[in-house]
Point group: C2
Chain length 419, copies 2
């Protein structure tokens, strides 16, 4: 008989308490959950000094890069932003109880499909401590209990934030087990969560590629994760040239490091000579570099040559792969071969070509005459998002409150039995 | 460097071809897919002799139980039923392209969420050869390519059915890679499918508990599966006594072996003495046996005593656990502790108690005054189902065509860039 590790034992207790709490939450009205979020926001503000002191302890022990140190750092403004985030989520519409469909069967049974919480969610994230507060808010609003395992670098901050949130929960009369953190930085806790089939209903990893890949590789629990965002913008022969320059510049360089940033520009051969120099010139002014195929280099000779793997590379940086294609089907074939089914755009004034592109693309988000950087929960109007999902089931694209729900059926009869 | 097994190499080729095929299918109109299904039905009928000959070879090599032999056996009527099944699916509404939601953002972006195929589905099933034809029909209709790994006992039958279906596909001008079977009975193929992250988008196991548990334990791919169906019927104090007898008898004994069969009867203390003897008497007439708690036995003394694990047992047989409870919250607590979040029913004439029950239950299906055996895709009006899902994400309850789709976003703009 295998002896359970301390981490598994703790997770089992935590998950059972979370399951009980999730059942209470699922039957709670939106007023109660929203009041809870607002009281939690107040509690965060009231615990500002304790949170900043805990964060100082994390920072004192931290020896990594300056970029990560900045992400780990809290200050009064960042605590206030977390509190404000809780209040913003409270103000969003209730995702629970929505009647998704309803119909009556010939035998008189009335069937409703309604939105309901998923249950117990495990969240595994890296150093930014505010992720814990944001995720807590979204999970509570959507009726889910959550177990939050932040990075070991931010353990003190995460615990101080959790203490504040739980005091708010209790003041609102909600179960404290709705939002939990591990008791220590034991790395075995992550393994226990990944193995936790039956204990957790869903794991959401948020962090770098190696974290996400580990979770996807090892989890025995369904995972909602963001893997790769190799996004394309295709400038079709009938594009408005001025719009193409403006949209491509934004799609690549507004924030080159976000998942919806365009990584590859496809441009039709018929207009490459006329329009590629202008597009390249704009991007160069913004600091972008290039990897281009031979046809693109024949038009703009000083573009560096692309190698075989460049079109499969998610740069997440001021770098753009460029390829010349022969019409919309050639562009679609390139995207099918090299893309990651995330977000792709076409720029054209030809509506029938645009609709052909939208109909044949495989990714979570397809845009016509707009920047790929619109792939974002806020821009979709979701109010808040917990991340972007690149899997193909349950949820695709931005994951907001609605994507943190599932459904169940209510059937009302008058004594029907099955023949 | 790890050498790939032959099974993994074959799966990789098959899955890549399936991916290409799925992209063709996704952009195919419903007329084309429906015509394909009808031509496939004709092809099945035309290949009747070859299918029955292949099935005879499987039967000749088979040495298992008679019950399984019956499930493995095909005859003219069963082939005709498969063909009819394909035509029935062709007649169902198209699950693709439905606009699930649409809205316009303040910046003018028009966002649509539309139903789209999942992609490439792996189906792992046991001896009943018709499962392959049924799953092929549902996957094709919903725009998904499918790789079907049947039981090794039915390999010849599965291959003969597949040959007929693929000839139909090709005659309809659809890619043959839409529906594939492994080249041989190599057991490593199942392991390759379970490991096939990135190759398959979803695995659906259909078969006994050990198959489903293995798939859930080992799969590195999302799984839509049926685990356990520990269903309850709760007879509330305000139940119509005649209705309670009729519904409980049906919920338990119509077909005791189906997943929606009631395994535990809960009855209110206030009415146990008056109503339990009648309910028990009806069930005894139908051949049902019992495991009852002390309070139930005080009312019907000859009921056998339940032990601690009986209320956690999915009998799937002519056996019913019986417990006395004290009102709706006591019933809900019993279900939360012992249930499997599948299907549970309340029998009562009190609407407010019924609504309390429906609001607080956790399972995929909750019924008021109806038999738990209604948990079935056909009874829901889905026309056809590939199984029942007991997980909590993507799909719960009966899995029909709609549950074999996912969604993506189409965004139409006029040159918007993100600020």
């Amino acid at each position: 008989m295998q002896v359970e590790t301390e981490a598994i034992q703790h997770l089992r207790c935590a998950a059972h308490a979370a399951r009980e709490a999730s059942r209470v939450l699922a039957a709670t009205g939106t007023d109660r959950r929203d009041a809870g979020l607002r009281i939690m926001a107040t509690s965060l503000r009231d615990h500002r000094q304790q949170i900043l002191a805990a964060n100082s302890a994390d920072l004192a022990a931290y020896s990594g890069t300056n970029a990560f140190r900045d992400r780990l750092t809290l200050n009064e403004a960042r605590v206030e932003a977390m509190a404000q985030g809780l209040e913003d989520v409270a103000a969003l519409p209730d995702p629970l109880g929505r009647i998704l469909e309803e119909w009556t069967r010939p035998n008189g049974l009335r069937i409703q499909r309604i939105a309901t919480p998923i249950g117990v969610i495990g969240m595994i994230y890296e150093s930014r401590p505010n992720v814990g507060a944001d995720a807590s808010a979204l999970c509570l609003k959507s009726g889910n209990a959550v177990i939050l395992r932040g990075g070991s670098d931010s353990l003190n901050s995460a615990r101080a934030i959790n203490t504040a949130l739980v005091q708010g929960l209790e003041a609102a009369g909600l179960p404290r087990a709705c939002i939990q953190v591990p008791p220590n930085a034991d790395r075995a806790y992550v393994a226990a969560m990944l193995a936790g089939a039956g204990l957790l209903d869903l794991i959401i990893p948020r962090g770098g590629k190696s974290l996400v890949e580990r979770v996807q590789r090892e989890a025995r629990v369904p995972v909602l994760a963001h893997a790769e965002g190799l996004c394309h913008t295709y400038v079709h022969a009938a594009a408005d040239p001025e719009m193409a320059r403006r949209v491509v510049a934004n799609a690549k360089m507004r924030r080159p490091g976000v998942c919806g940033a365009t990584e590859t520009l496809l441009i039709d051969r018929a207009i490459a000579a006329a329009q590629l120099p202008g597009i390249v010139g704009d991007l160069r002014m913004l600091g972008c570099d290039f990897r281009a195929d031979a046809a693109a280099r024949s038009v703009v000779p000083d573009l560096p040559a692309a190698n075989d793997t460049d079109f499969d590379t998610e740069w997440l940086d001021a770098m753009l792969s460029v390829a010349v294609v022969d019409g919309v089907d050639s562009a679609l074939a390139h995207i099918a071969r090299h893309g990651s089914s995330h977000t792709d755009a076409i720029i054209t004034e030809d509506a029938s070509v645009a609709e052909h592109f939208l109909a044949h693309i495989d990714g979570a988000v397809a845009l016509w005459n707009a920047s790929t950087q619109f792939c974002d929960g806020g821009e979709f109007g979701f109010g808040a998002e917990i991340g972007i999902a690149t899997g193909r089931i349950h949820a695709r694209g931005p994951v907001g409150l609605e994507q943190l729900t599932t459904y169940r059926y209510l059937i009302r009869g008058t004594g029907q039995v099955r023949a």
